[in-house]
């Protein structure tokens, strides 16, 4: 158990430091709170709106990419250190492992993990989603074919629109 003594000492020191810091700041720091000081802030600026609660799922995909390469390095580093001893068998094993890791990377890219921005995957796959398709180009006005809108009708319509806004 003797070899664990430094760990124990460090644990005690860390606890003491954290505890003493809290106590010291309570004792020595001047406390003069005002409403402005207690308000939450973003980078020193008073927030103008509530924090957004939703953020893109792509952050998770990037996090998964990180995990993939993180795992890879966890295995590659010890292999690289012992490269001479492990020889050809180790090399082949690591190549198989790297191929599998790279494979998951290929899969993530094909799923659009690196296509940053709104909906590029579905736009690419789906011809029905396109900037060219607007209500003007896709919706046919029924009942107005061959009719011209008279000035009187237009005036009534404008009045109705105006009263709608007022209401």
């Amino acid at each position: 158990m003797a070899q664990y003594l430094p760990v124990l000492a460090l644990l005690v020191l860390a606890g003491l430091f954290a505890g003493l810091s809290f106590v010291a700041s309570k004792i020595f720091a001047p406390r003069n709170p005002t409403a402005e000081k207690l308000a939450p802030y973003e980078c020193g600026i008073t927030p103008g709106r509530d924090l957004p609660e939703r953020f893109p799922v792509r952050f998770y995909l990037v996090a998964m990419l990180f995990v993939i390469f993180d795992i890879e390095i966890v295995f590659l580093y010890p292999w690289a250190v012992n490269y001479q001893e492990l020889g050809l068998f180790g090399l082949v094993s690591v190549l198989i492992f790297s191929a599998l890791v790279f494979e998951s990377f290929v899969y993530l890219i094909s799923k659009g993990a690196l296509d940053w921005g709104p909906l590029q995957v579905s736009r690419r796959q789906d011809p029905m989603r396109s900037a060219d398709r607007t209500t003007a180009s896709t919706v046919r006005r029924v009942g107005q074919d061959g009719r011209t809108v008279t000035v009187l009708d237009a005036g009534v319509a404008a009045e109705e629109a105006g009263s709608g806004v007022a209401a």
Binding site: E85, L88, L100, V106, S110, K111
Partner: protein
């Protein structure tokens, strides 16, 4: 740099273990096939449609199954059993430094898993088309899971067993939750994951305790440290190894859903996509039983008197409780879940008999293998019919949805009837011989009480299958319908009617359940269920599999490990 050069002078190259690739092909084809499928469909998006992954998966399962034939011919040499590791080219032996065993048992179980993958891929094809889902992920995960199952069945080392168990399970968790639009599927996946992770923890702790007690994780090492070996006091660490065996048994009992570790099964089977349930009930369960049989019948063989009562208790509870609780259900997928718990009990009884040191051992192991094959085929087919009847949205699984099936699709009803009769154990079907072999093995072992309990459970569970058959074939009028409702509600103890799922448009007529998907099911799904029914009948007429395959595979399990 200097340090590197200095090290170089004292470098001792570690020899890699010899790998006999030719014996690993059945496993490698499944694993590499899965990786290849996800790669190809990622790089070539055109192939990401629905036909290619299904065809690829079927071909992979076929190729893996065919590659078993040369392996079987090399391995099936019982006169060479017990040969030293890595020597010679024939006979059962272990590969890769004793991590992976190849013997008749492994080959047989791998074949069963391939059958399960093949049938499920056919079912998935129709299912994905109907639900408007796409993506090769389903097939990739199934191939991965199957390769994990093969690894678990062939593991000759507890660490490799754990690896196989995790590959098998993690893919299955994801598959259960893969129908992203259905909340039930998500719920099923989550439940399966949480309870499966708990089971894995039990399993791993069991490995640790066994290692502590025996000083080895290989099955041979554990066997050699048993009380049979000379020079070792069996009582020194016996409590440690007993605890380890108990934890391993709990881990496996979760996987094969034996009572009292079965609570996840009905919920997961009800919520998960039906073709996935077909695979979970067949492939995953078969792999779990194979791992259980290999570890307990070989590594823990010296302690058989200790663990046998526990297996017997699990088995009897599973058969009786599974059969009884199934009667209280109205959801067919839940009924089938309890019926699979009931079947798990029978397979545990086969393991109980196989642990016998006398004549019952061989018969028990044969019964287990035959049961695994028959069960896989019939349960995949049954859930296949449930997939078809489930209709778009996969929500029509109430008993009433099967009403009038014989009129709307006589072929489907006939296939379902064959499969259900087989599960009930009616003669001239595979289920009869499966149950017959188990009870015969128990009798030759002298466990008459267990055999009697098994027969009682078979009678109880027959009622459940007959309820579905009656529902399919009885063209009723409204009064009988209502009466049946009341009777069932009385049985269920006032259990509320299952909540409506999906786009159910229930009408008053008896044929409300008749859907276009039932009238014209996907041809691939129909092929799968017809194949399953045909194999069930063939196994019922040729219960010896046309030769000594069963007995050879069973002997390999008992002798070689």
């Amino acid at each position: 740099m200097i340090a590197l050069v200095a090290q170089d002078t004292q470098t001792v190259a570690l020899p890699g273990p010899p790998v006999v690739w030719s014996l690993l092909w059945p496993f490698l084809i499944l694993a590499v096939g899965g990786v290849l499928l996800v790669t190809v469909t990622s790089v070539v998006p055109v192939l990401r449609g629905r036909s290619f992954p299904a065809a690829f998966t079927c071909l992979t399962a076929l190729a893996s199954g065919l590659s078993l034939i040369p392996v079987w011919q090399r391995v099936d040499r019982l006169d060479l059993v017990g040969g030293t590791i890595g020597s010679g080219t024939e006979g059962p032996r272990s590969l890769v430094s004793g991590a992976y065993a190849v013997d008749g048992f492994t080959v047989f179980v791998t074949g069963v898993i391939c059958v399960s993958v093949f049938l499920t891929a056919l079912l998935l094809d129709g299912y994905l088309r109907r639900e408007g889902l796409d993506g090769p992920e389903w097939y990739v995960l199934m191939l991965m899971s199957a390769s994990g199952g093969v690894l678990l069945a062939s593991a000759n080392d507890l660490i490799v067993s754990f690896l196989g168990l995790e590959i098998l399970s993690i893919a299955a968790y994801v598959m259960a939750a893969l129908h992203l639009r259905r909340a039930e599927s998500q719920e099923a996946g989550f439940k399966y994951f949480v309870l499966g992770a708990l089971a894995s923890a039990f399993f791993l702790y069991g490995i640790a305790l066994v290692y502590g007690a025996t000083g080895s994780t290989t099955l041979q090492g554990i066997f050699a440290a048993g009380p049979n070996a000379a020079g070792l006091d069996p009582r020194t660490d016996s409590s440690l190894i007993l605890a380890g065996m108990a934890l391993l048994l709990v881990g496996f009992a979760f996987k094969v859903s034996a009572v009292p570790f079965h609570f996840w099964a009905p919920d997961v089977y009800q919520g998960a996509p039906s073709p996935v349930v077909a695979f979970m009930a067949s492939g995953v369960k078969v792999a779990g039983f194979a791992g259980l049989a290999r570890i307990f019948l070989y590594a823990f063989q010296p302690y058989w008197a200790d663990w046998r009562p526990a297996i017997a208790a699990l088995a009897v509870l599973s058969t009786i409780v599974g059969g009884l609780l199934a009667l209280a259900q109205r959801n067919v997928k839940r009924m089938l879940a309890y019926s699979s718990i009931n079947h798990a009990g029978f397979m545990l009884l086969a393991i109980h008999a196989a642990a016998s040191p006398d004549d019952g051992g061989q018969r028990g192991a044969e019964a287990l293998l035959f049961y695994l094959l028959a069960y896989t085929v019939m349960v995949t087919g049954t859930f296949g019919v449930a997939t078809i009847v489930g209709g778009r949205g996969d929500g029509r699984h109430d008993l009433d949805d099967y009403r009038g099936l014989s009129r709307s699709n006589p072929l489907l009803a006939g296939v379902m009837a064959i499969l259900l009769f087989s599960q009930a154990g009616v003669p001239f079907t595979s289920g009869f011989f499966a149950k017959f072999r188990v009870i015969g093995a128990l009798a030759s072992d002298g466990s008459y009480a267990l055999g009697g309990a098994a027969m009682l459970a078979a009678v109880i569970s027959a009622v459940l299958y007959l309820r579905i058959v009656v529902s399919m074939f009885l063209i009723d009028n409204g009064e009988a319908h209502e009466a049946d409702h009341e009777a069932v509600d009385a049985v269920a103890g006032g259990r509320a009617a299952p909540e409506a799922e999906g786009d159910t448009l229930v009408e008053a007529s008896p044929e409300a359940s008749v859907l276009t998907s039932v009238r014209a099911p996907a041809p691939t799904a129909l092929l799968a269920v017809c194949l399953a029914a045909a194999v069930t009948l063939v196994l019922g007429l040729l219960p010896d599999l046309g030769g000594g395959i069963l007995s050879d595979a069973a002997s390999a399990l008992l002798l070689a490990g």
